[in-house]
């Protein structure tokens, strides 16, 4: 086996393009992912056209809320790029300088103040389905957050106005008489007046007015609480059932490393076996020079070793940009080792099917790419039956198990790493056996 390993390393070293790819690929991908994650804006770039007159306010009873509060909140949710006009904003969207433009119309304050209609923002965006989805999700949540904060300010203004009605005082509204009586003071004041009134029609009318004032004060007080409930009727308390919450950027790193591990390993293992058929050396080797099992083990270990080194280098490279928990490095090694061995076994089975290296490479790509894609389809995003089918397909190939093992190793994500490692070991045995059968048929 040592002679074969030396031979394969020599052949690998002489395949300059392949060696260059094996070295450059992890470096390039690590840098690409690192820069993409570390340099990407945390907030989306959005052009904002504010057409409201300066100092415009929304009138809520006796209170005024400046519209600038809303724009300030919106600016804090996005990376705002001020635009002087709607046309200029459209140009910025078309050029890709911003993902969308938000136009705040001049009549927004008047509409909100009217109390009969809500203000309407105009959102302009462009691009393919992915970009459209990004705008809807990121900008939608930014606008919702700004709306929430603005509505809380309006609620506070409304609550202040209600307090003034309830408790009276100087309302600071143009034309309002000073030292107004509050609604909640009326029943007491009337009671004193009523006590001095003789029984009769006037007294009973005063008693009715006092009862109304008491009822109105009670309900107006209640309406303050109702206002805050309407502003945010339902709050969300989210809890993760298993594992730790995985940051999207470290999960992206795990996906990239697993994809690289898969491609390098499957291609090398498949190519290594197919090369023996392409050079017609397989029959010569297995007629007693080396057992089929030893031949497969040698090819599988070589591919696993190379892909392990490549993906570890990639993980370490990305670690320069994205904070990774290096205290878990032992688990990374374990996940990468088992993952590479399972991918190696899959590559051997593919290589045993193909007659030449090019066919093996093509087959490896055609099989691996959709499997990786399927394994990333989240639950609930497709019909139940289809998701079950995807789950079954993903279960019998190593990508999902390797992804889960590495995610658990790097991020402490669920499911636990032990189950995924056992799964990978089982798949290694399965594909190893298939490769053995395929090799026998290939001779």
């Amino acid at each position: 086996m040592r002679s074969m390993l030396k031979k394969d390393l020599l052949i690998l070293a002489r395949s300059r393009l392949l060696v260059a790819l094996l070295i450059l690929y992890p470096v390039a991908i690590a840098l690409l992912i690192g820069f993409a994650i570390s340099r990407s804006p945390a907030r989306p770039r959005v052009a904002i056209v504010d057409q409201t007159p300066a100092g415009e306010t929304v009138q809520v009873g006796s209170q005024r809320v400046p519209v600038s509060r809303y724009t300030e909140e919106l600016f804090s949710q996005v990376q705002s790029v001020p635009a002087t006009s709607r046309a200029r904003a459209i140009d910025q969207v078309k050029s890709g300088a911003v993902i969308a433009a938000v136009v705040i119309p001049p009549d927004i304050a008047a509409r909100i103040s009217s109390g009969v209609s809500s203000g309407t923002l105009e959102v302009l965006y462009n691009g393919d389905a992915l970009e459209q989805s990004l705008v809807q999700s990121t900008l939608g949540s930014a606008i919702a957050q700004a709306n929430l904060v603005f509505s809380q300010q309006i609620q506070r203004a409304a609550a202040t106005a209600i307090d003034a009605l309830l408790h009276g005082g100087d309302l600071a509204i143009l034309g309002a008489p000073p030292n107004l009586i509050g609604l909640d003071e009326i029943p007491g004041a009337l009671a004193r007046v009523i006590s001095r009134q003789p029984p009769g029609r006037s007294r009973s009318q005063l008693e009715r007015i006092a009862a109304f004032a008491g009822f109105a004060a009670q309900n107006l007080s209640l309406s303050k609480r109702v206002l805050s409930t309407i502003g945010q009727p339902i709050q969300v308390d989210s809890r993760l059932l298993h594992g730790r919450r995985t940051p999207l950027n470290t999960f992206a790193v795990v996906v990239a490393v697993t994809v690289s591990l898969m491609f390098v390993c499957v291609l090398l293992a498949a190519g290594g076996v197919a090369l023996e058929r392409e050079d017609h050396t397989l029959a010569r080797l297995v007629r007693g020079l080396i057992s089929r099992e030893a031949l497969l083990a040698e090819k599988g270990l070589l591919a696993a070793g190379c892909s392990f080194a490549v993906s570890l280098a990639m993980l370490a490279g990305v670690g320069a940009f994205v904070p990774l928990d290096w205290s878990r490095a032992g688990l990374w090694l374990l996940a990468l080792a088992l993952g590479s061995v399972a991918f190696g076994a899959l590559g051997l089975a593919i290589g045993a099917l193909a007659r030449e290296v090019r066919a093996a490479s093509l087959l490896a790509f055609l099989l691996s790419l959709p499997l990786a894609f399927l394994a990333l389809v989240p639950a609930g995003s497709v019909a139940r039956g289809f998701y079950d089918a995807i789950g079954a397909v993903s279960f019998v190939f190593p990508f999902k198990a390797a992804l889960q093992a590495l995610d658990a190793a790097v991020n402490g994500a669920s499911p636990a790493i032990g189950g995924s490692l056992l799964h990978l070991a089982g798949l290694t045995i399965l594909f190893g056996a298939l490769a053995r059968v395929g090799l026998r048929r290939a001779e």
Partner: protein, 240 residues
Amino acid sequence: MSAALSVSALVKRYGELEALRGVSFDADPGEVVAVIGPNGAGKTTLLSIIAGTQQASSGTVEPRPERVGWAPQQAALYAKLSVAENLELFARLERVRDPSAAVERMLEQTGLRERARERVGRLSGGNRQRVNVALALLADPPVLALDEPSASLDPAQRERLWQFIVALAHGGTAVVFSTHNVREAQRYADRALVLAEGRLLFDGTPAELMREAGEDEPADMERALVVFLERRAAVAEPSR
């Protein structure tokens, strides 16, 4: 003299198809034996069983495959390795006692010393075939099985290859080769085996085959083979 190769009642079945039907023959040390016959006669199957790359359904072959050098029809070599690297790799896999000495010996024997460092993928078809045969000889086997060794070679390359093989036979190696080129069998073989539909129809010298076919003129063995096969088919037809 005891036979270097002894094949006895060899049968090979692929499901319903019988590729070999009880083939038996011997080859003495230094003897060159040609296996000829039409396409699908079972020539490659016979050579593969002798070489141990296929298992017989029944029958025996002596010696064991490890003692038989085998050169398949398509050169089984690593194109990205040099001539010397290919020889050394297989010498180590064959567990030859002194791999370096074996490489030197084969480079000398094949006349490829000047090409030792050249990658096999850049060699001519003739030289590649010589390396292919040289790999079969690394362990110094008493029997050499060659499957269509001169296929796809030009006349000059073929001539050089046969000089090499005949020299091996003169050194005591029993050589069994299959070929479609009947004139090659006539020229270089001591004995010819005619296979058709898995049956061994003839075992004798090329001259005996021509006599059996009624060919007085010894120059055309190809015609002799055609006539021989036609006669055997005519004899076999009424009995079917």
